[in-house]
């Protein structure tokens, strides 16, 4: 037999696969561009919108009690979810498109460690970058509102949680993208599915009769997830933590389905 005795220090471990995926993620230009775009959009758009609102309040009087100063400054995340989601999809569909997946799975033939590693590495990176962007947007946005005297600090009720919620929301968008990417394998198909779920479902739900709408709308992925960024409650919607929890459930289902596909299908 040609089986060579293998020293245990050569074994493929989950930790090594995580390191491998970290090298892969940081060695692609698309990673840098997408994350840069996410930061610029989160901060730039947040500050811009908050500035426009502040200007309006200066001219037409202060806002009512339902004005959410924190959420306004985090609005840019509604747009920055696009580069984050696309990058989450590309993390895996880029490998299917180029054939890299065969090298990856030949190196890690048990396969699932690759999915866990990709999801973990990407989630951590998005959480850190998204957290910084969310915080900068909050600080910059509140500076805009300070002229009108309606700004809030991180210490005000729910503000810190909402800033954290922005980072969590982007992280879950990214994970949903990774899961759909593993499941669908094709870049265009996975991106269309991801943003169909996030952006198109609420528009379709609007056409439902009101009895049905009230039951369904709050559970839609983006509607549920973005509650984590609010400090002023809308009683018809989920609470912040329940909302992000429901949103995370979507990502868990997508990743679970992706895991089954990865195990069962030919590479």
């Amino acid at each position: 037999m040609t089986t060579v005795a293998m020293s245990p220090d050569a074994r493929v471990t989950q930790g090594r696969v995580i390191l491998s995926e970290w090298i892969k993620l940081r060695s692609l230009r698309s990673t840098l561009f997408a994350l840069l775009a996410a930061v610029v959009l989160t901060v730039g758009l947040g500050v811009l919108i908050t500035g426009l609102r502040a200007n309006d309040f200066n001219q037409n009087g202060p806002p009512g009690p339902h004005f959410d100063a924190t959420l306004v400054s985090l609005r840019g995340i509604y747009l920055s979810q696009l580069p984050v989601g696309v990058l989450g999809v590309l993390v895996i569909t880029g490998e299917y498109a180029t054939g890299m997946i065969r090298a990856t799975l030949a190196a890690v033939p048990r396969r699932l460690p690759v999915l866990w590693a990709k999801a973990l590495v990407f989630a951590v990176v998005v959480f850190v970058v998204g957290g910084i962007a969310s915080l900068l947007a909050f600080v910059g946005g509140q500076a805009m509102l300070s002229g009108a005297g309606i700004h809030v600090g991180l210490g005000s009720p729910g503000a810190a949680r909402a800033v954290l919620g922005g980072a969590l929301y982007l992280t879950v968008v990214g994970l949903l993208g990774v899961g759909l990417g593993f499941l669908i394998r094709n870049t265009a198909g996975a991106i269309a599915t991801l943003f169909g779920l996030l952006l198109v479902l609420p528009a379709i739900a609007n056409a439902l009769p009101s009895s049905l709408y009230n039951d369904v709308f709050r559970y839609l992925p983006m509607i549920a997830g973005t509650q984590a960024m609010t400090t002023v409650r809308d009683p018809s919607l989920l609470t912040p933590w329940r909302g992000i929890g429901v949103f995370a459930l979507y990502a868990v289902v997508a990743i679970g389905a992706g895991a089954v596909g990865l195990q069962r299908r030919d590479a």
Partner: protein, 314 residues
């Protein structure tokens, strides 16, 4: 050692690989030969656990590929379609693969040097020529210094210098006792590198033979002779077991005698020869012949319309 037993792969209605069994021994280069679409790549993907066989098993060094705790250190593979992300540099590609089994950065630099990519190691693999991409694929295969190499069409896209390099590399790796399994659709290429051949056609095993044996099997033992006195030469060499065929003009084809016997006979008879050429069957012809036969065996009926026509006659 690579062992395939009853390996079968069905895609829908197509049987890509059909009950394929063979063994690849260490210490020599074994060629995996077959026309395009014969099932070579599918077989190799099954060996590497990338495609699950419909039936049958494949083991490398006595274990299924997926059961190796450190596969890159046991088996190096080069897959037909370049398995490389186009946006990543050669060095980062290798570093990412190396990380999965704790291969050092030094070894990564070593294989980059070995395949001659040092100058372009920082370039995106998408900007590589076909040949450079192939070298990077070979670098990935050698990364873990594996005992077994499975290479799908490694000379594709290489320039003559690269082809020579890979031939010598494979021979020297085999001489170190490694198991080398190399696919090609070109018999001429395999003739230069391999000493044993596994030949498949339409997913089925056609031959599992030594290269020498294959040449003998297909050898036709013909001699082409040109002379100004065709009729006299024909009479002179006629005899038991000798068949002389006219090829028009001054040319004859002789079987049953070798060129020395014909040349000496002609000299004794004072017949001038213009040309005397032994017609060795090339390995390529041998390959065509055995694959053609196998294709005929595996299709008992000619294509559709003809079957219908035959039916009517009967």
């Amino acid at each position: 050692m690579i062992e395939a037993r009853g390996l079968t792969k069905r895609y829908g209605h197509t049987l890509a690989v059909d009950d394929l069994s063979f063994t690849v021994q260490p210490g020599i280069v074994t060629g995996f030969l077959g026309p395009n679409g014969a099932g070579k790549s599918t077989t190799m993907r099954m060996l590497l656990g990338l495609d699950a066989p419909t039936r049958g098993t494949a083991t490398i060094g006595g274990r299924r590929y997926a059961d190796h705790p450190a596969p890159l250190r046991e088996v190096g593979a080069l897959l037909e379609a370049r398995a490389i992300h186009t946006g990543r540099s050669a060095r980062n590609h290798l570093l990412a693969l190396a990380a999965t089994t704790g291969i050092t950065r030094r070894r990564v630099e070593e294989v980059i040097d070995l395949v001659g990519l040092t100058a372009v190691a920082r370039k995106r693999a998408g900007d590589f020529s076909l040949g450079m991409g192939q070298r990077l694929g070979i670098a990935s295969a050698l990364l873990g210094d594996p005992h077994t190499l499975i290479l799908d069409e490694p000379v594709n896209g290489l320039d003559p210098e690269g082809i020579l390099w890979i031939r010598n590399l494979l021979k020297s790796l085999a001489a170190e006792g490694r198991t080398i399994f190399v696919s090609s659709h070109l018999m001429s290429e395999m003739a230069q590198t391999a000493s044993h051949l596994v030949v498949i056609g339409r997913g089925r095993l056609i031959a599992d033979v030594g290269v020498d044996e294959l040449t003998r099997m297909a050898s036709r033992d013909l001699v082409k002779v040109r002379t100004t006195e065709v009729a006299r030469l024909r009479d002179l060499i006629a005899g038991d077991g000798v068949v002389v065929t006219s090829r028009g003009g001054d040319t004859l084809e002789v079987s049953g005698l070798d060129s020395a016997q014909i040349g000496l006979a002609a000299a004794r008879g004072g017949i001038p020869l213009i040309e005397l050429t032994p017609q060795q069957a090339s390995l390529e012809e041998a390959f065509m012949e055995i694959t053609r036969d196998a294709v005929e065996f595996s299709t008992p009926h000619p294509p559709g319309e003809l079957v219908g026509a035959e039916g009517e006659v009967r």
